[in-house]
């Protein structure tokens, strides 16, 4: 049962676990030196992550910076007001660390993100396990400011850092009969307390049609707010598909599988009447238990202000509508 008091908002670790300020300072200095070479910056971020992983609920600890250029992909830079870093890192769903939206920030500090590799398998020229250090170099880091719309009816505006998923796909050379891409995320009962609860079949699995995965807006994401990803937001590497509900963007990816048939995604498997494979943001197709016509933008307005109107394809209609030409989106929800 989730009865909280003001006392457990921040669970203090043992004093022996608290990193001394001096240690912090030297690590940061080290980091700065390592990051001097621009190409190595991302990498340095990785090796440094652990140093800052004494996860507090604030989510405001400084992580390694991840330099990026502004994206010139169409629609990739909304000018809306950014959601605060605090809100974006303390209010999100990451079921592997608990079902409450404040759980990931509290629990994700146990996630081990180094070493990390992604296995590319299925219908590709040469199935291979790649190290994160290599994958990170396959594309130029870009900052992209995307709207993020959760299926629960809230939204944020988040500056992500990464490169288009298509860069990775081209690199690994899928075979002609690969029609879909399956994304499999980390599952480790040792470090992820939530996977003991039988909410869904772990590992959490997501998928995209090949043309969706190849769309330039589909981002293989390594950072946010100019820093490497915080653990609770899916470190060290995740997917961001801005025109779909948030759960389509798998976190902490460990496997990318190319397949011929439409994969069964985790939420569609757990509740087929409520979640479909496509899960495009669509104000006219309601969730069975709530309307999707409006959304609450986190950090915006007062309690009594009207909610925002949800936009078709989360406002990315101009960029992605052609992918679904002729499809019945109420049926393919």
């Amino acid at each position: 049962m989730l009865i909280r008091t003001h006392q457990d908002g921040f669970i203090h670790p043992l004093s022996s676990e608290i990193t001394k300020p001096e240690a912090y300072a030297t690590r940061r200095q080290l980091l700065r030196q390592w990051s001097a070479g621009a190409a190595a910056a991302g990498l340095a971020g990785w090796t440094q992550r652990e140093a800052f992983a004494q996860g507090g609920a604030s989510g405001l600890q400084k992580l390694a910076s991840l330099p990026a250029s502004q994206s010139n992909v169409q629609g990739a830079m909304t000018v809306e007001k950014l959601t605060s870093l605090r809100d974006a890192t303390t209010y999100n769903n990451f079921y592997e660390f608990g079902v409450d939206k404040s759980d990931p920030a509290r629990n994700a500090h146990t996630l081990k993100t180094s070493p990390w590799s992604i296995e590319v398998e299925g219908l590709v020229k040469k199935p291979t396990r790649f190290n994160l250090e290599d994958i990170i170099k396959w594309g130029a880091m870009q900052e992209r400011i995307y709207r993020m719309r959760c299926v629960e009816g809230w939204s944020m505006v988040i500056p992500w850092v990464g490169y288009s998923m298509s860069d990775l796909i081209k690199r690994v050379e899928p075979l002609p009969n690969a029609k879909y891409v399956e994304f499999i995320t980390q599952v480790d009962p040792q470090t992820m307390p939530g996977v003991k609860g039988g909410y869904i079949d772990w590992p959490y699995t997501e998928g995209l049609r090949m043309d969706e995965a190849m769309h330039p807006l589909t981002l293989l994401t390594f950072g946010m707010y100019g820093e490497v990803l915080p653990k609770q937001n899916g470190a060290p590497v995740r997917l961001v598909v801005p025109w779909k509900y948030g759960f389509k963007s798998g976190k902490s990816l460990v496997k990318i599988r190319f397949v011929e048939k439409q994969p069964l995604i985790s939420w569609a498997k757990a509740a087929p009447q409520e979640y479909g494979f496509y899960s495009n943001v669509n104000p006219s197709v309601d969730h069975p238990r709530w309307s999707q016509a409006t959304e609450r933008r986190i950090g915006e307005g007062g309690l009594l202000d009207k909610k925002r109107k949800t936009l078709m394809f989360n406002g990315y209609e101009a960029q992605v509508a052609s992918l679904y030409a002729g499809m019945d989106l109420a049926k393919n929800f």
């Binding site: 049962m1 809100d87 303390t90 209010y91 409520e274 309601d286 009594l304 009207k306």
Partner: protein, 209 residues
């Protein structure tokens, strides 16, 4: 002072009601001091709903407590607790219609018609308000004890609807731990009543249990 003596005093009831308003006061403070997290709207709607369920459980625990302890004094708190359940249910409905639906009545009506989940919640609120409005002494007299009792047994229907409402709400994310908890508490309280009624039936007339 002995507990039994204490619960006979008016101050005990005043203390209980004050305590029962504490979560509400805490939420109000939370609104103005920005302590309800990144999504205060969601927080308010959910916590008023949870408090309704908690008070429903507490209210329904009064009778078993009275019988098991053998202290009829516990009955003094039942009406206040029932009214507190109604209060939190009303706050829950107010948060939904004001914060979530923006007081847009055509929208609210459409939502109720379209979604069984909302309709079930509203039904239990309507039933609760029926009980709240017949909770004072004059109403008991006007209805007659027998009819009043039967009317107020509707609370068992309300409990079932409340758990169903909670279950539907949580089924979106397959997160049933709390649903099971409250469902189990209410089921236990129901089971005790059935068992007790059966036992009373079994015993020879005139023997008080």
């Amino acid at each position: 002072m002995k507990l039994r003596e204490f619960i006979r005093k008016p101050v005990a009831k005043i203390g209980l009601v004050t305590l029962a308003f504490a979560p509400f006061a805490w939420l109000c403070v939370g609104i103005f001091s920005d302590r309800l997290g990144p999504n205060p709207a969601e927080y308010l709607i959910r916590s008023t709903g949870t408090w309704t369920l908690r008070f429903l459980c507490i209210t329904l625990a009064v009778t078993p407590l009275r019988v098991i302890s053998g202290w009829p004094e516990w009955l003094r708190f039942r009406r206040s607790l029932g009214l507190m359940t109604f209060f939190y249910a009303s706050m829950h409905a107010l948060c939904y219609s004001l914060i979530d639906m923006g007081w847009d009545w055509p929208e609210i009506v459409a939502d109720v018609v379209k979604r069984p989940f909302i309709a079930v919640g509203l039904t239990s609120l309507v039933l609760l308000s029926l009980l709240a409005s017949t909770s004072f002494n004059a109403a008991v007299r006007a209805l007659g004890a027998q009819r009043w009792r039967r009317l107020h047994q509707t609370v068992y229907v309300i409990a079932a609807l409340a758990v169903l409402h909670f279950y539907w709400m949580r089924s979106a994310k397959q997160n049933f731990s709390e649903v099971v908890l409250y469902g189990a508490i209410l089921a236990l309280l129901m089971a005790w009543r059935i068992w007790h009624a059966w036992r009373v039936n079994q015993s020879p007339p005139g023997v008080r249990l």
